[in-house]
Each structure stands twice: as C-alpha cells, then as structure tokens.
C-alpha cells in the first residue's frame, strides 16, 4: 500500500513538471477597473462566483483584488472606496510557459488564493487557483489512465474476441548488425507488448532476459537478423534468426564463460559467455541450430503457467 501511494505521488510530481501553467489556468479572466467601487467589485464576485480578480487600467495589470480585501472594506464600512485604493498593487505573477510545479510551490510559499498568469510580453493571459491545478492534474491522469487501459483492454481481450480453432499473434523485430545504438529495442518492444497482453510480470521478465540476450548476440556476432515472437494462449515462442556467420561448435558455445567476443565488446560488459546460458535458464524449451556460413536459428518456448521458476 505504501509503495502504491509513493507511486501515485511520483506520478503527480511528474505531471506537475510536464504540465504548463498555461494548460491549467482559466483563460477567461474577469477583471475590474481601479476606478470601480468596492460595492461594484462585490457584485462582480457574486455574479461570476469567483473570489478575486486582476485590476486592469487601459489593458495593463496594475494590481489584484480579492474577497479578503472586500471583507476588510465591509468591516471598515468603506464599500464606496475604489478598487484602486484597496487592491494589492504589483501582484506576484506566473508565466504561462512555466511548469506547473512552479505554481504549486508559489501557492505553498505565499499562501495566496490566485495568481494572474502573463505571457513573456507581460500581457495578462489567464488566472490560476489551486482548484485549477487539481482539475488539470486529474484531467491529465484520467487521459493517461484511459489510454493505458484501452491498450491493455484491447490487447488482453484479443484472444477472447477472436473466433478461431487456433490463435497465434506474431510480432517481428528486425535487428541490425553492430548497431549498439538501437540494441535492446526489440526486447523492450516485446516486453511492452506482452505487458499489454496482460501476461504475468514474472513471465515477462524471463522473456525479456532471453530476448535481450538473443538480440545482443545478433547485434554483436552476426550480419544482422530478426526476432519473431509468436504468442498463443498459454505460451510464447521466440525465434532469433540471423544471416551468419554461424556457430561452429554449439556445445562449446553453450558452456558458461565461453565467448568469442572481441576485446572492445568485452569492455562494454558484453561477451561474458553468459548469453546462451541465460537464455537456457529463462526458457522452458530451447533449440539452437547453426550452419557455418549460413546462419543460426534459436528457438525457445516460455509457458505462462511458470513450469520453470525464475
């Protein structure tokens, strides 16, 4: 439970960095003139159901006036005083392109009810309250949640929605030789896809480890190849195929610690001779065939019922 809460707080913090003040603010700003009376200002608040407004003189913001100023005026019997006399001049503002987290910290630091929002030219473009911030975050959370739910729903129901005697979903990933930049994208793409299919995280971990090792083998040792994952109810089969040069002695290659990796690859932390053994440890079934000069075909199966522990 504690972890869950921590995760949610993190998500909100992330949103506070992602969202801009301009996305959360209210754009239709009600304003008053400094020459209006406090009685007129009270009417503005009542009609619009708001608790404060910026004060504008010839289009230029010169202050902010709030319900607190109104209460003070009421208490002093000064409803005929002008807004200009009772307002707070030179209000603290926020820029529309600032991250929302700046607004959050200004609210907690200064404890004001609202901040006028200006653009970089200094023009008033909106107003923001803590309610606006909460609504913007909730809207965004809802959108994110819906998107992921829709992906998950669509994916995890696909086996139920399809009518066939046999169902198989096939995902193919191309793997380029010696492309260390994009290395890992096939396995991370497959990991994400399986997670959307609603497959158990422990199974996904085994698939991710096996696929990453297979992918790196193609990147490091071969002239390129592909990874094909075939998902059927109850199991996933992963095939890694390459265009050579092939493995002369498979038994030797399967020995933990045996590696033909060049020094520069070892320096990156690859080539420890643990790739194929890791694949074997992750897979329920494994077949490795290779013809020198033609290529290698790795074929593994991982069952969803976890007949093998992690």
């Amino acid at each position: 439970m504690e972890q869950r809460t921590a995760k949610e707080i993190t998500k909100l913090q992330e949103l506070a960095y992602e969202l801009k003040v301009g996305q959360a603010m209210t754009k239709e700003v009600i304003t008053v003139s400094p020459y209006s009376t406090m009685a007129e200002f009270m009417e503005v608040l009542r009609v619009n159901r708001i608790s404060g407004t910026p004060v504008l003189e010839e289009g230029r913001m010169i202050g902010i006036v709030s319900i607190e100023d109104l209460i003070k005026a009421l208490a002093a019997g000064e409803l005929n005083a002008t807004v200009g006399e009772k307002m707070t001049p030179n209000p603290v503002t926020l820029y529309a392109d600032e991250p929302l987290v700046h607004a959050v910290s200004k609210f907690s630091e200064l404890r004001f009810g609202r901040f006028p929002v200006i653009n970089r030219a200094g023009e008033l473009v909106g107003i923001i309250t803590q309610g606006d911030i909460a609504r913007a975050m909730l809207r965004r959370l809802e959108v994110d949640y819906h998107e992921e739910e829709i992906h998950r729903y669509r994916a995890s129901h696909i086996f139920e929605d399809i009518i066939a005697d046999e169902i198989a979903l096939v995902f193919g990933y191309r793997v380029a030789a010696r492309d260390f930049e994009r290395a890992g994208e096939a396995s991370s793409g497959l990991k994400r896809t399986l997670s959307r299919l609603g497959i158990h995280p422990r199974v996904i971990r085994r698939v991710a480890v096996a696929t990453y090792e297979a992918e790196m083998n193609i990147v490091i040792y071969t002239d390129g190849g592909e990874i094909v994952a075939e998902v059927r109810p109850g199991r996933v089969r992963i095939e890694a195929l390459d265009k050579g040069p092939g493995i002369p002695d498979i038994e030797q290659a399967m020995q933990p610690g045996f590696s033909t990796a060049p020094e520069w690859v070892r320096e990156m932390g690859f080539g420890a001779g643990m790739g194929l053994p890791n694949i074997q440890a992750s897979a329920d079934e494994m077949k490795l065939e290779s013809t020198v000069g033609v290529g290698t075909h790795l074929d593994i199966i991982i069952y969803f019922d976890e007949r093998k522990g992690t």
């Binding site: 993190t10 992330e14 890992g184 971990r205 480890v209 990453y212 090792e213 790196m216 420890a272």
Partner: protein, 114 residues
C-alpha cells in the same frame, strides 16, 4: 528506502531521469557484466557499475531496476543520458569505487538479493 534518500545520503549526482527518484529501492546488485545483471538483478534494485554506455539503460529498463549508479567518477555518455531520460531510468554518479559505494549502500540497509 527511496532512491532519492539514497542519493542524498551518499551524495550521488543525478545525471538523468531526475523526476523518477521517488521509487522504492528493493535491494542492490553490482557488476559490470550485463549478462550477470540480467540473470541476477531484481525489479526495483539499484545497480552499481562502471559501464556508462547506452546499453545499460536497456538492461535496467528491461528489468525495471530502480536506477543505475556509475562509479569511479565516470560520467554517462550523452546517448546514455538521452536514452535514460526517454525510458525514465535514473542514472547517478559517484567519484567512489564500486566496493566503497556498495559498502555505503549496505550501511543504509540496501542489501544484495542472492
């Protein structure tokens, strides 16, 4: 313990994914061999290594690790930082050697998982 608390306690420099530090650290693993990490490191672990190239991000992301600490004053390559920000994998650095840092982590109660 949260990654953020660890970073503060051990004076680690955050190099990437600064928005992802509020993750609970479930333990630790140290190795420069990626296959060993793949085989042993568990979800939520902090990984201590000398490696600084972009492939460490793929490994950490595949295993849902909490973050990576690069030791001995090495800095992550620019591509590593870019990938780490994209995948949301925090990368931290320390001038200390791996052995020293792991010792400090252990004092904080972050332990190995084997």
């Amino acid at each position: 313990m949260k990654l953020r608390e660890i970073a503060t306690a051990l004076d680690l420099q955050v190099q990437a994914a600064a928005g992802k530090l509020d993750v609970e650290v479930t333990g630790g693993y140290a190795s420069d061999l990626l296959s060993c990490v793949l085989a042993k490191a568990q979800k939520g672990n902090i990984w201590v290594t000398l490696q600084a190239h972009p492939n460490i991000v793929a490994v950490a992301s595949l295993l849902d690790l909490a973050g990576i600490v690069i030791t001995e004053g090495r800095k992550p390559e620019p591509d590593t930082v870019e990938k780490a920000n994209e995948k949301g994998v925090p990368i931290l650095t320390t001038p200390h050697a791996t052995f020293t840092l792991v010792g400090e982590l252990a004092k904080l109660g972050v332990v190995g998982v084997d």
